[in-house]
């Protein structure tokens, strides 16, 4: 569904990713793990068009989208959820969902919001609350729900469980699995909670210092003899 070819990217003159070849298969969870500063978030941003790409390609459904602006990628069905600031805190839950479907007509918007609320029924009772008053977990629900409203087929989640209690983190992991199994979505996941992320993922990439050091089945990475050394950033 999505692939990067020899992707070199960063911010301005700060080169972070080096020759990254990665692919995301349809209806799978692909997880990107690695120590802090390894370029995991930058990979998502580069794919979405929020980082500088120096060379290489991003291909989505066989179409070169390397230079496609972010709002066009949204229309193509790619959703990127930043780690923080992923909802409008001064708007209500309902307004957040409405703004997510800004490009849809009224009928379609209603259908999409109904669908998002079917996946996240917890939000039904919070519609009039300002998003800023939600708990961290509820905010993540809302953020993912907004991606569902905008008809995302590929969800790129940047550490959706960061700063959440273990209980809420587990609920989020379960929802991610549901999105794949029940609703057939494709997910590219960046996670700090490496073990749990690998358990739910189909495929995995390990990045260290902006380079891919492992690519393959998620369970193979978990049982890799150098796995623990990878995790603390040693090759």
């Amino acid at each position: 569904m999505l692939r990067t070819e020899k992707l070199n990217a960063g911010y301005g003159e700060l080169h972070i990713l080096f020759d990254v070849d990665a692919k995301v298969n349809e209806k799978e969870i692909t997880c990107v793990v690695g120590p802090n500063g390894s370029g995991k978030s930058t990979l998502l941003k580069a794919i979405f068009g929020l980082a500088t790409i120096y060379s290489g390609k991003v291909v989505f459904r066989n179409e070169d989208i390397t230079k496609t602006p972010p709002h066009e990628k949204t229309k193509m069905g790619i959703a990127y959820l930043p780690q923080t600031d992923n909802v409008f805190v001064n708007l209500t839950v309902e307004e957040n969902l409405k703004i997510a479907g800004y490009t849809l007509d009224k009928e379609e918007l209603k259908d999409r919001i109904d669908f998002a609320l079917e996946v996240f029924p917890e939000l039904k009772y919070q519609m009039k609350r300002k998003a800023g008053t939600l708990s961290g977990g509820e905010r993540q629900f809302l953020a993912i729900a907004t991606a569902l409203v905008r008809k995302a087929e590929l969800l790129m989640l940047d550490e959706p469980t960061a700063q959440l209690s273990p209980k809420f983190a587990e609920v989020i992991f379960q929802k991610v699995v549901d999105l794949r199994d029940k609703y057939g979505l494709t997910i590219l996941l960046v996670e700090q909670n490496v073990k749990r992320a690998l358990e739910i993922s189909d495929r995995a990439y390990m990045l260290i210092s902006g380079r891919v050091v492992f690519e393959g089945k998620a369970e193979d990475l978990m049982h890799h003899e150098k796995f623990e050394r990878f995790c603390i950033g040693l090759q």
Binding site: L50, P70, D85, V87, V89, E95, T146, R150
Partner: protein
């Protein structure tokens, strides 16, 4: 016209002007020093329509709204947007609006001369106070200016909270990048805010000559009060701007009047702007984020000794 009535009219207009200034500051972070010029632009539209076609200034409000809106939107598109794109900082943007203000001042001076020649009446200095009529025992300008601000606030509330575009505008103010991720055309919301700011200022400008004498340089005096209102309100709060407009408008009119009575020196009325400047200084020293930045619950608790 009574002193309090005059103060209320002035406050209504100041609230409209501060609202516009705050709106463009919130969406584009530009402190617009040409806001006073947008207002006096409206005054000259009303004067032109009155002198050339005999149209009463009240009836020229819709025309002034549209033309003022175009001036605001044009200023953004031609001057500010290109600068923002090049990464201009707030000081550069501020100086650009100051330059725009001076350019508009020059044009007003030239235009006033031309209009004076055509109509064979002086246009460098004018007032509409002779058109004021009493309605229900109060000057009609008080009712009209109050109606304009009430309708503006109702319209703005409806727009911002009940329409998709309004929600998009609020979203763009809060987080432009996320708005773009959601597919919102953030640039359109910015342009609209400049249109509205120019339109509201121009309407206020149509009504201003009912209260005070207008000369081409009136804008450069009014801008002090507009900034004072917006700063008192916290620069990034619509409700704050309205409240600031009333606080500054009432203080400026009533304090100078009171001082002139006490000292027996009517000449003091000319220095009304000193009140606004003092308000700016005090606000920046005591509550730099204005009324919107004060933690009112804390103040109330402190006052009640809890």
């Amino acid at each position: 016209m009574g002193v309090v009535e005059g103060a209320l009219i002035y406050s209504n207009l100041l609230a409209l002007l501060a609202l516009g200034l705050t709106l463009t500051y919130m969406t584009t972070a530009v402190p617009n020093f040409a806001q006073g010029s947008f207002a006096v632009f409206g005054s000259y539209i009303a004067l032109t329509l009155l002198r050339l076609f005999g149209i009463h200034p009240y009836k020229s409000l819709p025309i002034a709204f549209v033309l003022g809106g175009l001036l605001g939107a044009g200023s953004y598109l031609l001057i500010l947007k290109p600068l923002i794109r090049r990464g201009a900082n707030v000081v550069t943007l501020m100086i650009a609006t100051l330059a725009l203000d001076l350019i508009l001042l020059g044009f007003r001076g030239i235009y006033a001369g031309i209009l004076g020649k055509i109509t064979r009446q002086p246009c460098e200095m004018f007032m509409f106070s002779y058109l004021v009529k009493p309605v229900f025992g109060v000057p009609d300008i008080l009712l009209v200016s109050s109606l304009v601000i009430v309708l503006t606030l109702l319209g703005l509330f409806f727009l911002l909270y009940k329409t998709k575009f309004g929600i998009a505008l609020r979203a763009s103010v809060e987080n432009p990048m996320l708005s773009e991720i959601m597919g919102v055309d953030v640039e359109k919301t910015r342009l609209f805010s400049w249109f509205l700011s120019g339109a509201l200022a121009s309407m206020a400008g149509v009504l201003l000559p009912f209260k005070q004498e207008i000369v081409p340089a009136t804008a450069e005096l009014v801008i002090v009060s507009i900034f004072a209102s917006s700063i008192v309100g916290g620069l990034s709060s619509i409700a704050g701007a309205i409240l600031g407009g009333y606080i500054v408008g009432m203080s400026e009119s009533l304090i100078t009047y009171y001082l002139s009575v006490v000292t027996g020196n009517a000449g003091l009325l000319v220095y009304g702007k000193v009140v606004s400047l003092v308000i700016i200084v005090v606000t920046l020293l005591v509550a730099p984020r204005g009324l919107a930045g004060i933690r009112w619950r804390k103040v109330i608790r402190w006052r009640s000794g809890r």
